[in-house]
Amino acid sequence: MFLAAGLGAYSAAVFHLGTHAFFKALLFLGSGSVIHAMGGEQDMQKMGGLKKALPQTYWTYVIGALAISGIFPLSGFFSKDEILHAAAGNGRWLLYAVGLATAALTAFYMFRSVFLTFHGKFRGTHEQEHHLHESPPVMTLPLWILAVGAAVAGVAGLPWDNWLHHVFAPITQRPAGLPEAGEHHVSVLLLALVASAVAVASIFLASRVYGRERGTAGDLAFAEKWPAVHRLLANKYYIDEIYDRLIVRPLAALSTFFWKIVDAILIDGTINTGAATAQVAGEVGRFSTTGNVRNYALYFFLGVIALFVWLIV
């Protein structure tokens, strides 16, 4: 989506945003249904073979996964295709390659989740297995609605009759200097074929690694082979930790510094010092009132002399 927006293909971006809304929502709700069935368990390592227990969830989930992978004729196919077309059409082949690779990865990991969750053997506890159940209609109905959407939303942006282009025409005036999409006349059909092939290949690969009874064996093998990479990935590239160390904690320290040092010591300290100085001056000044009349007369006398000197000099 960002790729499309960055390329100036506004309608493509919005299109993908729309289709994405369907299949991503569908996938989230589907996983919600699974988690519900698993009694709150979220770890795919502990699932497997849920196809039988949750058929509706399974099928809708698969539709979502296919759509997000960009398999013809589901909606993801059209929207993703248009983005890639925008990249290729602008001659941004590197961006195209990145887009394609990402699409491949998406297809791979989506089907990894399909296989790990719904295929193979159940890897959870007996108690969980006993409680496995399909979700009630109140949950499955939205799944189906979204599934239909994910399947057919592509009609909004058919390559040969793009309704969205018309809708967005008034606001998609292109910034000067950016070439019009499709200036490099790359065949839409060819690009679609390539993308589909990549997606299908990825799904196939996923089925080879995770399909049938293999379960998590593939992951374990990967972890054994490249432990460092696996750790990096499993921890989401440590982005949360990096944020925490680099931004959150220093900021918190800075904030505390502002509060305890700047506010309490610097500003209030300065003001309190002023007030205390006045107080101390007063306390010290009290000693001038000795109660002794001789001193009072002396002040008077000295005062008169000082003023006299000032007057005559």
Binding site: L251, S255, T256, W259, D263, I267
Partner: protein, 526 residues
């Protein structure tokens, strides 16, 4: 000729200003120990005052919601007061003071409702202090004579001092004195500035004294003098806003003040600082304002970020909200210093917004405090399950404060940022980080109080909000939503006044510097 008494009994500004003060007199005659009756009486008075306000607006606002210079002139109430010094009793309602005045009046009954349980002694005195405070606030907003303004400005201090000092927390006396001295220090220098302006005006005006706002507006000082005078005025108002680095009285005042005191302090007293800039400091000294702009903008942005950051690390709920006020008022200042119509509209709207949402937050903190007698985050957690109604209002007000679209905070902040981006792009971008930080610290507050597991057993049996408490919160939330959905309704009455002030200001900054004080002619001055 109109007399004061005539004005007092008409549908007038005078009635709005003095009705609360006069309504204090019967409080002297309530027998001891009849706090229930006093509460009802105070609530009735404040509602009546609200009704008077509505009546005044209903009779005078145009059908399309606009309010023009013609109204301002026609609805002016002016009588000689101290003729030897040309001092007049002179009240004017214009588009700039209107939203703030309405907000002030609107908050008072809510404060009484919110203080029902929290204030447990000396109710007659509390009611009197609140009502006198209302008089002071409205008087400051309406005063069109600088002497009169100064009187009302100072009159506000005493009730607030008493409210913090009598009904406040443990360190209440420290907080009350700090509040008083900070504010007083600023305003005393402003007094000297006013006197200086009065002399300049007299010398140019053929020896005739005047403290009238529009006469003062005609004074054109040389730049050097302007800077000094601007400094005196700006300090007085900056303390009140409060701007970094003269803000430290605010957290103490808020934390120690009783709930009602905090609501009125955040809700309306702080706004008088920004109002002072908008009404006096900036228009009186346009060239000095321009020169001081970078410094003040820097302080405003520092205030936004600083307030947000310090807010984030607080362990005390009330202190968090208090520091957030500094950040929010920083936005208002930024908007004002942008000298741009949209930003000014946003600033004025944001003054109201902050009054509503922060007022609601202080009320909610107070309600929690009434139940648990603590405001520390560590004592809470998981409250959403126990007191869902409370949780709803807290989430609602927090989101309004964060600036969630469709609620009021968004409308104000958006206008401020959009407007100031035109003239102050870099500060506006920096200020945007403040919005993000606001989301962080306010959501942190929600997280720590409402969500997560219930860690303290005392929290398991908390009573949810009573009808009275809900009645205090609902009006606030209604307006948060209303402003969020339809800000235009609330912007319209102020637009013309802001536009006049702004264009006068811009005209003035293009004039060449003068050698000595001069009096611009009336037409150009207006």
């Amino acid at each position: 000729m109109q007399t004061f008494i005539d004005l007092l009994f008409g549908n007038t500004l005078t009635r709005l200003v003095f009705f609360p003060a006069l309504a204090c007199l019967p409080l002297l005659f309530f027998p001891k120990g009849r706090d229930g009756a006093v509460k009802l009486y105070a609530l009735a008075v404040s509602l009546l005052e609200l009704a008077f306000t509505v009546a005044f607006l209903a009779t005078n606002l145009n059908a399309d919601g606009t309010y023009t210079a013609e109204h301002v002139t026609r609805l002016r109430e002016t009588l000689p007061w101290i003729p030897s010094f040309g001092i007049r009793y002179d009240l004017v309602l214009d588009g700039i003071s209107m939203p703030l005045a309405v907000l002030g009046v609107f908050l008072v009954p809510i404060v009484f409702l919110g203080s029902w349980k929290g204030i447990d002694k000396h109710w007659p005195a509390f009611a009197a202090a609140m009502l006198l405070l209302t008089t002071g606030v409205l008087g400051s907003l309406f005063a069109w004579d600088l002497f009169l303004f100064y009187i009302f400005w100072e009159v506000m201090l005493i009730p607030m001092y008493l409210i913090i000092g009598i009904w406040g927390g443990e360190r209440r006396i420290y907080a009350a004195v700090k509040f008083f001295l900070f504010t007083m220090a600023g305003s005393l220098l402003m007094l000297v500035g006013i006197l200086w302006m009065a002399w300049s005006l007299k010398d140019l005006n053929g020896g005739v004294w005047s403290f009238a706002y529009e006469d003062m507006l005609r004074l054109q000082f040389p730049l050097r003098e302007q800077i000094w005078l601007f400094g005196a005025f700006a300090l007085a108002f900056a303390v009140k806003v409060p701007m970094f680095p003269v803000h430290t009285w605010l957290p103490d005042a808020h934390v120690e003040a009783p709930t009602g005191g905090s609501v009125i302090l955040a809700g309306i007293l702080l706004k008088l600082g920004t109002y002072g800039f908008l009404r006096f400091a900036l228009p009186f000294f346009p060239n000095a304002s321009e020169i001081a702009q970078p410094l003040l903008v820097a302080l405003a942005v520092i205030g936004i970020l600083y307030g947000a950051l310090v807010s984030w690390v607080q362990e005390d709920m009330k202190k968090l909200v208090a520091y957030s006020s500094i950040a929010h008022l920083g936005f208002v200042m930024l908007g004002l210093l942008a000298f741009e119509q949209v930003a000014w509209e946003g600033s004025l709207l944001q003054m109201v917004n902050h009054g509503l949402s922060t007022g609601a937050l202080f009320l909610l903190v107070g309600m929690l405090y009434d139940r648990r007698h603590t405001k520390k985050f560590a004592e809470f957690g998981g409250l959403a399950k126990v007191i869902p109604v409370f949780a709803f209002f807290l989430v609602f007000s927090t989101l309004a404060s964060v600036g969630l679209p469709a609620l009021n905070g968004f409308a104000g902040e958006f206008l401020i940022l959009a407007g100031s981006y035109k003239t102050l792009p870099v500060p506006a971008v920096l200020a945007t980080f403040g919005v993000v930080l606001a989301a962080i610290y306010l959501l942190k507050m929600l997280q720590l109080t409402l969500f997560g597991p219930i860690t303290k057993d005392e929290n398991r049996k908390l009573a949810d909000l009573s009808l009275r408490e809900i009645a205090a919160l609902v009006p606030l939330c209604v307006f948060m939503l209303w402003i969020g959905l339809q800000p235009e309704t609330f912007l319209r009455p102020s637009r013309e006044a802001l536009n006049t002030t702004l264009s006068r200001f811009q005209q003035a900054t293009t004039r060449p510097d003068v050698e000595q004080v001069t009096l611009s002619n009336t037409e150009a001055g207006r």
